[in-house]
């Protein structure tokens, strides 16, 4: 049987010998999958400090789970207590230049029995990034402490296909996380939601392809080491944009630099920032018989269930939650009523975290204006104070968990 003449194959690729072509295709895909697998087991970030701009989702670079696990494996020994820093830009160290990032000081304070790795992403939730890496490495590094931060009275909520959530889905669909019925139920709920279904389906299929071909692992390495073809705002134009990401240094500014000192608390954002500062008023409307501000029962229950659902039960005791005070530049502008409501918010938040089974501490209550680069982010001075406050808590937790005598 022959095809109709007018529909005979076009000559454009008529020279192709199918057997050789398909052999090349299979060989090529297998080779690239192998290279990708090797990439996922190779640390190609020598001297890693944190997820800085050029290797972060803000510049369309999405470090893979394998890539981050390799950083841990290269940096830490299984005998050490692995301290993974997660959370958002505050713990990532915005306003703290390389060399003076708070997590580097934490490592110095904790010493050789501990290995601190910072996987905090700007704008991510405590359950993203570092949380996933730590959980995925729980068998290789059973002695681990995970540190994350959250604002007071804020639920840990990052579930949908948000940009920082990709590591979670990678690990979840790949079966790298602890079995957790509550988490599975939440995923099923999301998949039943028509608005989320398509995006989740994409993530699930992407993960399936990723497990076979390791495409993200390989091309991330290419982008980091040799040639980066993905869009970003890093360079003024091509060809600068194609420069490998390793050529772009971590250039986080220093908030204590005189250039920035005068710009930390601009007048044009004062009203907005104060609105946020006064947000405790949204939760506290009345005082109880003891004269203390009362958190509405519904809010208490909501937060309690969100905190409980944030991590599976076995991981809660090793998750140290940090609740940060804002800069006194703004806090000092609160009136007495507002200040007492805010104080109550910190107290209640810590209690709720503790009740849910997490160790939690507040920091920054006695910090001064120079310890901050803006309302929430710490300067290197504040970062050092944070490390000083967190180190004893980590040691205590390590002892309590039986990691170290």
């Amino acid at each position: 049987m022959n095809p109709p003449d007018e529909h005979a194959p076009r000559a454009r690729f008529g020279w192709i010998r199918p057997a050789w072509f398909l052999a090349g295709l299979a060989l090529g895909l297998a080779g690239l999958a192998w290279l990708g697998y090797r990439s996922s087991r190779t640390d190609f970030h020598p001297g890693y400090v944190r997820i800085y701009q050029a290797i972060s989702p803000e510049t369309s670079y999405y470090p893979t789970l394998g890539e981050m696990e390799s950083i841990v494996r290269a940096k830490c020994r299984p005998g050490q207590v692995l301290v993974v820093v997660g959370g958002n830009s505050i713990l990532q160290g915005v306003w703290q230049p390389v060399g003076e990032v708070w997590s580097q000081r934490l490592q110095a304070l904790l010493g050789g029995h501990y290995c601190v790795v910072n996987f905090a992403f700007r704008g991510s939730s405590p359950t993203d990034g570092g949380a996933v890496v730590a959980e995925a490495l729980r068998k290789e590094f059973p002695h681990q402490i995970y540190i994350a931060d959250e604002a007071p009275l804020t639920g840990v909520g990052s579930w949908g296909p948000e940009s920082y959530r990709y590591v979670f889905w990678d690990a979840y669909f790949g079966g790298r996380l602890l079995p957790d019925a509550a988490r599975d139920a939440r995923v099923r709920e999301l998949e039943a939601d028509p608005a989320q279904r398509r995006a989740l389906r994409e993530l699930r299929i992407a993960d399936g392809f990723g497990r076979i071909f390791h495409q993200d692992d390989w091309w991330n390495q290419v982008c980091y080491r040799w040639l980066c073809t993905i869009p970003s705002d890093l360079g003024p134009a091509i060809p600068e944009l194609w420069r490998p990401r390793k050529d772009f240094a971590d250039q986080e500014p220093d908030a204590t630099d005189p250039v920035w000192l005068g710009r930390r608390y601009p007048d044009n954002v004062l009203a907005t920032e104060m609105q946020i500062e006064r947000s405790a008023a949204l939760f506290y409307h009345s005082r109880g018989p003891d004269g203390r501000w009362q958190l509405a029962e519904a809010t208490r229950q909501d937060l309690s269930s969100l905190f409980t659902a944030a991590f599976p039960a076995p991981l809660r005791a090793r998750t140290l939650m940090l609740i940060g005070y804002d800069s006194p530049y703004y806090r000092s502008r609160l009136d007495a009523d507002e200040a007492s409501r805010q104080e109550q918010a910190y107290e209640d938040t810590l209690r709720l975290w503790h009740e849910a089974g997490y160790p939690a501490i507040a920091y920054g209550r006695n910090f001064n204006e120079n310890d901050y680069g803006d309302r929430i982010h710490l300067s290197k001075l504040g970062g050092a104070k944070l490390a000083d406050a967190v180190a004893p808590a980590v040691r205590q937790l390590a002892q309590k968990l039986g990691y170290l005598p």
Partner: protein, 399 residues
């Protein structure tokens, strides 16, 4: 979008493998129809599926009846649907708003209320295919009796969203052949090569050029002359690589299934005159416009003046087809004028003969002029008219 989703990549693999594995023609066609329906539903959603179902049923039965009046009525319905979904807001804004802002606002509200959030997926393409089908049946062509085959003609997944615009007289024998033919390693290898070429054009060239254009176009006026011309070249190659890349993926996917789709591009930037350019650029659309607009208007049969006017109408509509905005129409008319000049310059007294002689002697001159004309046209295509005119002036150093 569509081709650049993981869902599509997985879908294509499953759809193709099962199609090839099924041993009977009817089963293959049934499977392909089911796959195409799933594809369309996935990307268009429930609201986007309704218009194509209505128009498909209408077209199918109108064609089956073979009555001229029914075919004409169905064609009118297709055109009205296209105008409604794609142009109603533009037409209200352009034709009603200048006379009565209140009436325009009410009409716009009504239209927005009646329309889905976005125009139905591939509406520009499937309405053209339906009009072509009805036109040919009205002219005495054989209608498609088998509803599964008609469904496949209507929503064949590789070409559904952005063409190439199919002709049913070519598509059906090809479908028939693919449904019965044994596995062809040639088709598989050549189709995969074509798909790879398409993705390479899109991701390795077009997207990189887009990056370059997005970064440099806002500073067009401050750039030196060389930089400005470089940007024009980038704009010209970006659309070629993007669209021909898309066509390559569509044609390649179809070829893996064993089905031939019409070609859409044949080195258009090698054309030495504007007629040649349009015989090589988006060929499936150009030939549609020629067969169903230009020739029915009289084509070139009624003297050169009518030929020019017909060309202007056809290309004005071609421009409008690309989008509901004035600059698209202007781009179409610009090419209509260019083609008019191209077709008639030899008749011009004195200059005509001299220019013609130059082009015959120096083919390179024709190529330069043609490409200059078509590339400058992309400015009108991509940017609002005032910006495009300013950029065109700046290319020649005019501030």
């Amino acid at each position: 979008m569509i081709f650049t989703t993981y869902w599509f990549l997985l879908f294509a693999v499953v759809a193709i493998v099962v199609f090839r594995a099924l041993p009977w023609a009817a089963a293959r066609q049934g499977w392909l129809a089911l796959a195409c329906a799933v594809f369309h539903y996935h990307f268009a959603g429930p609201a986007g599926v309704k218009p194509i179902i209505v128009l498909m049923v209408l077209t199918y039965f109108a064609g089956l009846s073979r009555r001229r009046a029914a075919c004409v009525a169905a064609m009118v319905a297709c055109v009205i649907a296209l105008c409604f979904y794609k142009y109603s807001l533009f037409l209200i804004g352009s034709a009603v708003a200048p006379f009565s802002a209140g009436l325009a606002a009410s009409l716009a509200r009504l239209a927005t209320h009646a329309m889905p959030g976005a125009p139905p997926l591939g509406v520009s393409f499937f309405t053209f295919e339906f009009v072509h089908y009805l036109f040919e049946v009205r002219r005495g062509g054989e209608p498609i009796r088998n509803p599964v085959k008609f469904l496949l003609f209507a929503i064949f997944f590789p070409s559904l969203v952005a063409g190439p615009i199919k002709r049913y007289a070519q598509f059906l024998p090809s479908l028939e052949w693919a449904s019965r033919a044994p596995f062809s390693a040639d088709d598989l290898a050549q189709g995969l090569a074509r798909v790879g070429l398409g993705f390479a054009k899109k991701l390795l060239i077009a997207d990189q050029l887009t990056l370059y254009i997005d970064q440099n176009q806002p500073h067009f006026g401050e750039t030196g002359l060389f930089g400005r011309w470089l940007l024009l070249v980038a704009i010209a190659f970006r659309i070629l690589m993007d669209f021909s890349g898309y066509s390559d993926i569509a044609i390649g996917c179809a070829q893996i299934l064993g089905i031939r789709l019409p070609e859409n591009f044949a080195w258009p930037y090698g054309a030495r005159d504007l007629q040649q350019f349009w015989q090589r650029w988006h060929m499936s659309l150009t030939s549609w416009i020629r067969d169903y607009i230009y020739i029915p208007l009289g084509g070139s049969r009624r003297g050169w003046a009518r030929r020019v006017i017909n060309g202007l109408i056809a290309f004005g509509l071609c421009g409008l087809w690309h989008g509901a905005a004035r600059h698209y129409v202007l781009w179409g008319v610009y090419h209509g004028v260019g083609l008019g000049v191209c077709a008639t310059y030899e008749r011009w007294p004195v200059a005509g003969a001299a220019v013609s002689k130059v082009f015959r002697k120096e083919p390179l001159a024709g190529w330069v002029l043609t490409q200059l004309f078509s590339w400058m046209g992309w400015l009108l295509f991509f940017y609002p008219t005032a910006v495009a005119v300013r950029m065109a002036g700046q290319l020649f150093g005019v501030a």
